[in-house]
Symmetry: D4
Subunit: 219 residues, 8 copies
C-alpha cells in the first residue's frame, strides 16, 4: 500500500469528481465527499485501512475544464497542501466541442489542454510527499470511430504522455471502462455516456485503488 498513515489525498476534477460534494471544503462527515468515486475510495480506505487515517478531500466542480482548474489551483490544490494529488480532467474540454459546436470560446483545444495540464503538473509535483496520479478522461462509447470518442482518446493520450514524462502514476479510466462495456451497453452505465452510475464510478474507484496498491483481502 503506497498511501501512508496520516496522509492527505486530494482529488480534483469536474462533475465526475464533484457529485454533489460539500462546498467549499470537500471533506467531512454526512456525505461531504459526494456520491461518486471519491466517496467510494474513501469508504474502502476507511473500511479496510482504518488504522491509516487517510484524509480524503474532494475538489471537483461540475462543468470544469483544465482552464478552470488552473484558475483555482492556488486555492484548491496548493493551499491545502495534500500529500497525494489525483487529477481527472478533460471531459468538458472535449464535450463542449460536440454539444455546443457554435461556441468556440468554450472549447479547450488539445494544445491548450496539454500545455495547461503539464504546467499544473510541473508546478505541483515537487510539493507532494506522496505522489501525483493522473487519470485519463473517458467517454462511455464503444465505437472507437465515433468522433467524440476519438477526440477523447487523443486527450487521454496527452495525459499518458505527461504522466510518463513526469513520472506520475497513471490510471487509464477509458481502458477500465472498455472492459466493462464489453458486457454492458453504455446506456446501462450512463444515459449521457458521461456521468456514470454507482457501478460505473466503482470502475474508476477500483482502477485508482489498484494503482496505489490497495489490498481488498487485507485482514
Amino acid at each position: 500500500m503506497k498511501l501512508e498513515k496520516g496522509q492527505k489525498l486530494l482529488f480534483i476534477g469536474d462533475s465526475i469528481t464533484d457529485c454533489d460534494r460539500a462546498k467549499p471544503e470537500g471533506e467531512g462527515n454526512f456525505g461531504a465527499l459526494g456520491t461518486g468515486y471519491v466517496s467510494q475510495v474513501d469508504a474502502l480506505l476507511q473500511s479496510v485501512y482504518p488504522e491509516l487515517g487517510i484524509r480524503v478531500v474532494n475538489k471537483g466542480i461540475n462543468g470544469h475544464t483544465v482552464r478552470n482548474l488552473k484558475a483555482r489551483w492556488e486555492t484548491d490544490v496548493i493551499k491545502p497542501s495534500p500529500d497525494w494529488l489525483v487529477i481527472m480532467i478533460g471531459i468538458n474540454d472535449v464535450w463542449r466541442q460536440y454539444d455546443l459546436p457554435t461556441q468556440p470560446e468554450k472549447h479547450v483545444q488539445l494544445k491548450e489542454y496539454k500545455e495547461t495540464l503539464e504546467e499544473l503538473v510541473t508546478v505541483t509535483k515537487p510539493k507532494l510527499n506522496g505522489g501525483l496520479v493522473l487519470m485519463t478522461p473517458f467517454y462511455l462509447e464503444t465505437n472507437e470511430a465515433d468522433a467524440m470518442r476519438k477526440t477523447m482518446d487523443e486527450y487521454g493520450r496527452a495525459v499518458k504522455e505527461i504522466a510518463e514524462k513526469y513520472n506520475c502514476q497513471i490510471v487509464d479510466t477509458q481502458a477500465a471502462f472498455n472492459e466493462q462495456l464489453k458486457e454492458l451497453y453504455p446506456a446501462t452505465l450512463a444515459w449521457d455516456r458521461v456521468h456514470p452510475s454507482a457501478a460505473g464510478h466503482m470502475t474508476i474507484t477500483r482502477a485508482f485503488l489498484k494503482t496505489v496498491g490497495f489490498d481488498w483481502n487485507k485482514a
Copy 2:
C-alpha cells in the same frame, strides 16, 4: 464466486438496507437501490462481474422489525422469487426497548424475534435456487457491557443459531465492525451508533461479498 449468471439477489431489512431506495420496486437505474450497502454491493458486482448480469433488488424499509418483515413477506420476498435472499433485521427490535422504554408494544422480545425469523427462514429456504444469507444486527458500541450492545449480541447469537440449524450463510456484521472500531471511534462511523457512513456500509458490503466468494482482483 457463488452467484451465477442471471440470478436475482434480494436484500430485505430495515433502514440500514433501505437508505432511500425506490419504492415499491427497489431496483432500476438512477439510484433505485438507495445509498447504502445494497448499492455498494451492486456497484461492485456490475463493475467486477458485468458478465454475470446479477439482478439486485432492495426491499429494506426504515424502522422495520422482524414483525414487519413477516407482514410483507409474501409481497416482498415470495412473490419476486429471488434466487438469493439476504436478511438483516433486528436493530429496531432491540432499539425500541432502549429509546422508547415506555412503549412495550413496539418492543420485539428475543423469543418472538427468533421464532419469527426462524419461521421466515423455514418457509423460504426451499424456494431459493441460490442461497440464503443471514446477517446479524449490529450496534456500533465497543463497550460489550453496554446494555443495548449486550441485547444486540443476544439477538446476533439467535441469528447465528438459526443460520447453523438451517445451514444458511452467515455474515457477522458486528464482528466486522468490531475490527473497524478498534481504529475508529463510533462517532466517526455513525452519530447514533446505528446508521453508518459510506465507510461503515462498505464494511457490511465487504463482509457480505467475502461470504459469496467475490474476487476483487478478478481480471
Copy 3:
C-alpha cells in the same frame, strides 16, 4: 393539404410525444400540448392554416411502450374519436433491453411489438375519417453497427411493413434525423441520444408536416 377543416388530429406515443403536456386532456391553451413536436405541429397549423381550425390532441405518456398504449387505447384513442391518428412508439420497447438488461419483464420484444402495433392499427384504421400516420421510433446514433441502433432499425422496419400492409402514411423519423446528424454530433441534439432539443423535435415536425401536405409558403 390533406387535413381538412374542423378535423381532430390526435398524437399518441411516449415521452417524445408527451413533453409535459396537460393530463389527462392533452389539449387546450397555456402549453397544454407540451413543449415537443406536437406543440410545434400545432403552432405551424394554427399559424399557416388558421382557417382550418384543426384540433390537435396530445396523448403521449412518458416511458410508455406499445404494451402500455394497448392498455389505454380505448380511453385515449377510440373514445376521443379523432379524424387523424399519429402513432410513434417503440423507443422504450427497445431502450429497456439496453438500460435495464436484467429486467426482462420490461422488455417488449420485436414479435410482441409488431403484433400489438398491428392489432391497434387494424382496430382503429376503419374508424378514421382522415388518415393514420405511423412514425418510426428512432435513436440519435450515427453508427449503424451500434447494438441499440440496430435493434431500433429493426423496430422501424416493422413499423414500415405495417404501414405498407395497411396502407398507412409513414414518417421515417430515423431517416430524417440521419440527415441532420450528418452535420451535428448526437450530443448537440440530445444528451441521451433519445430526447431531442427543440431543433430535434423540429425535424420530426417537418417530416410529419411534409407527409400531410403542409405548405410553408401558403399565402
Copy 4:
C-alpha cells in the same frame, strides 16, 4: 438564404423575445433560448440548415422599453459582436401608457422612442457583417380604432421609417398577425393581447424567416 455559415444571429427585445431564456448568456442547450420565437427560429435553422452552424443568441428581457435597451446596448449588443441583429421593441413603450396611466415616468413617448431606436441603429449597423432586421411592435387587437392599437401602429410606422431610411430589413409583425386574426379571435392567441401562444410566436418566426430567405422545402 441570406444567413451564412458560422454567423452569429442576435435577437434583442422585451418579454416577447425573452420567454424565460437563460440569463445572462442567452444561448446554449437545455432551453437556453427560451420558449418563444427565438427558440423556434433556432429550431428551424438547426433542423433545415444544420450545415450552416448559425449561432443564435437571445438578449430579450421582460418589460423592457427602448430606453432600457439603450442602457444595456454596449453589454448586450456591441460586445457580443453579432453578424446579424434583430430588434423588436416598443410594446412596453406603448403599453405602460395604457395600463399604468398615472405613472408618466414609465411611458416612452413616440419622439423618444423613435430617436432612441434611430440612434441604436446608426451606431450599430456599420458593425454588422450580416444585416440588421427591425421588427415592428404589435398588438393582438383587430379594431384599428382601439386607442392602444392606434398608438402601436404609430410606433410601428416609426420602425418602418427607420428601416427605410437606413436600409434595414423590416418585418411587419402586426401585418402578419392581422392575417391570422382574420380567422382566430385574439383571446385564442393571447389572453392579454400581447404575449402570444406558440401559434402566435410561430407567426413571428415565419415572418422573420421569410425575410432572411429561409427555405422550408430545402432538401
Copy 5:
C-alpha cells in the same frame, strides 16, 4: 337597506366570484371570502352595518359555466339555504367559444345558458326569504362590435329577461363597467379583459350594494 338582521347572503359564480376563497366552506375569517368583490361587499357590510350581522358566503369556482353551477346547485345553494342569493355566471360560457374555438363541448350556447339559468331561478326563488339578485356577465371591451363583446351582451340580455320574467333584482355589471371604461383603458382594469383589479371589483361591489339599498353615509 333591504338586507335584514341575521340574513345569509350567498354568492355563486365563476372565477370573478371565487378569487381564491376558502373551499369548500366559502366563509370564515382569515380571507375565507377571497380577494374579490364578495370580500369587498362583506367588508362594507360589516363596517357600515355591523349591527345586522349579515352572513356572507362565497361559492364561486374558477372556470365554471352555468352547466357546472347546475351540477353543484343542490350542494352549494339549496343545502346552505341562504336568505339572499346572488348569481353571476356566463363569462366562461362565452369565453370558451373564443379562446378554445376547436372544443365545442366546452361551449355553452345561448339556448342552453338561458334555459339552465331559468331552471335554477325557478327552482330556487321560492325558497328565498330575502331576494334573488342576477348580475350580468361582462367583458371589459369598449368596442361593441367586437365579436366576444357582442356575444357577451346577448348573454347579458338573457339574464335581464329572466330577471324581469321572475321579478328578480338585476345588476347590470356591463353597464357599470362601461362608465368606468370611458375613463380607463381596459388594460388598466384587467390584462385579459375579464379578471378585474381591485378597482374593477369595486365597480361590481358598488353596483350590487346600490341594488340592495346600502347607504355609505349611514351614521
Copy 6:
C-alpha cells in the same frame, strides 16, 4: 372632493399600511398596493372617480415606528414629492412597551413620538400641494381602562394636537373603530386586536375617504 385631477396621494405607516405591498415602489398593477386599506381607498377612487386619475402610493413597512419613518423620510416621502400625504404611525411605538417589556430600546416613548412626528410634519407640510392627513393609531380594545388602550389613546391625542397645531386633516381611526366595536367583539375584527380583517380596514378606508370629501353616490 378635495383630491384633484392627476394628484399623487402617498400613504406611509406600519404593517396596517404595508399589507404585503410591492417593495420598494409601492404602486402599480397586480396588487402592488397590498391588501389593506390603501388598496381599498385606491379601488374606490378608481371606481368612482376614474376621471381624476389619482396616483396612489403605499410606503408602509411592517413593524415600523415613527423612529423608522424618520430614517426613511427623505427617500420615501420627500423624494417622491406627493401632493397629498397620509401618515398613520404609533401602534408599534406603543405595542413594544407591552409585548416586549424587557427591551426598552425598542420602546418609543410619548415624548420622542410626538417630537419626531411634529418634526416630520413641519418639514413636509409646506411641500404639499394637496394636504396632509394624520390618522391616529388605534387598538381594537373596548375597555378604555386597559393599559395598552390607555397608552394608545395618549398617542392618539398627541396626533390630534399636532393636527390642530399645524392645521392638518385628522382621521380618528380609534373613534371609527369604537363604533364598529359596539356591535362586533374585537376578535371578529382582529385576533391580535391590531391587524384588522378586510372589514376592519374598510372602517379606516371610509373614515379617510369621508375626510377628503369622497362621494359614494356620485353618478
Copy 7:
C-alpha cells in the same frame, strides 16, 4: 407524588394541548409531544422522576370543541386506556361565539358543553386506575367585564362543578394565569390572548404538576 411507576398519562384538548404534536400517535421521541405544556410536563417528569417511567400521550387537536372530543372519544381516550386522563377543553366552544358570530352551528353553548363534558367524565372515570384531572379553559384577558372573558369564566365554573360532583382533580388555569397577568400584559404572553408563549404554557404546566404532587426539589 400521585403518579405511579409505569402509568400512562393522557392529555386531550384543543390547540393549547396539540401544539404540533405527532399525529395520530401523540407520543414518541423527536418532539412527538409537541411544543406546549404537555411536552413541558413530560420533560419535568422524565427529568425529575426518570425512575417512574411515566408514559405521556398527547391527543390534542387544533380547533376542537367538546363536541369534537366526544366524536373521537372511543378512539383517542377509551382505546388507549390511560391510567390518568387530563381534559382541557372549551376555549373554541366559547371563541367561535366571538370571532365567528354569524355561524351559530360552530358555537357550543354552555348547556351542550356541560352535558357533553359530564357525559365524557361519567363514562371514563370508572376506567381510570390513576385519576381524572379537569383543567378549566382560560382567556388571557384581565378585564373580568370583557364579554368573552365572562363567558369563559362561566364555562370554567361548569368545569369546576363537574369536577366537584364527580370528585375529579381540578386545575384552575384561569386563576394561575391571573397571577401571572398581574405582572405581564396579555400581549407578552399571547398576541391573540389564547395561544400562550412557552412562559404561558409553563404556568399551565406548573399548575398541573402541583395538582399531582410533583416535587421540584426531589433529590
Copy 8:
C-alpha cells in the same frame, strides 16, 4: 433568588444553547430563544417570577468551540453588557477529535481550551453586576472508560478549576445527567449522545436554576 429585578441574563454556547434561536438578536417573542434549555429557563422565570422582568438572551451558535466564542466575544457578550453571563462550551472542542479524527485543525486541545476560557472569564467577570456561571460540557455516555467521555470529563474538570479560581458559579451538567442516566438509557435522551430531548434539556435547566436560587414553590 439571586437574579434581581430588571437584570439581563445572557447565555452563550454551542448547539445545545442555540436550538434554532432567532439570529442575530437571540431574544424576543415567537420562539426567539429557541427550543432548548434557554427557553425553558426563561419560561420558568417568567412564569414564577414575572415581577422580576428578567431579560433572557441566547447567543448560542451551532458547532461552536471556545475558539469561536473568543472570536465573537466582543460582539455577543461585551457589547450587550449582561448582568449575568452563563457559558457552556467544550462539546465540539472534544467531539471533533472523535468524529473528524483526520482534521486536526478542527480539534481544540485541552490546553487551548482552558487558556481561552480562562481569558474570557478574566476579561468579563469584572464587568458583570450579577454573576458568572460556568456550566461543564457533557456527554450522555455512562461508561466512564469510553474515550470521548474520558476526554469530556477532563474538559469538565478544567471548567471547574477555572470556576473555583475565579470564584464563579459552577453547574456540573455531567453530574446532573449521570443521575438521570441511572434510569434512562442514553438513546432515550439523545440519539447521538449529545443533543438532548426536552427531558434532557430540563435537566440542564433545573441544574442551572438551582444554582441561582430559583424557588419552584414560590407563591
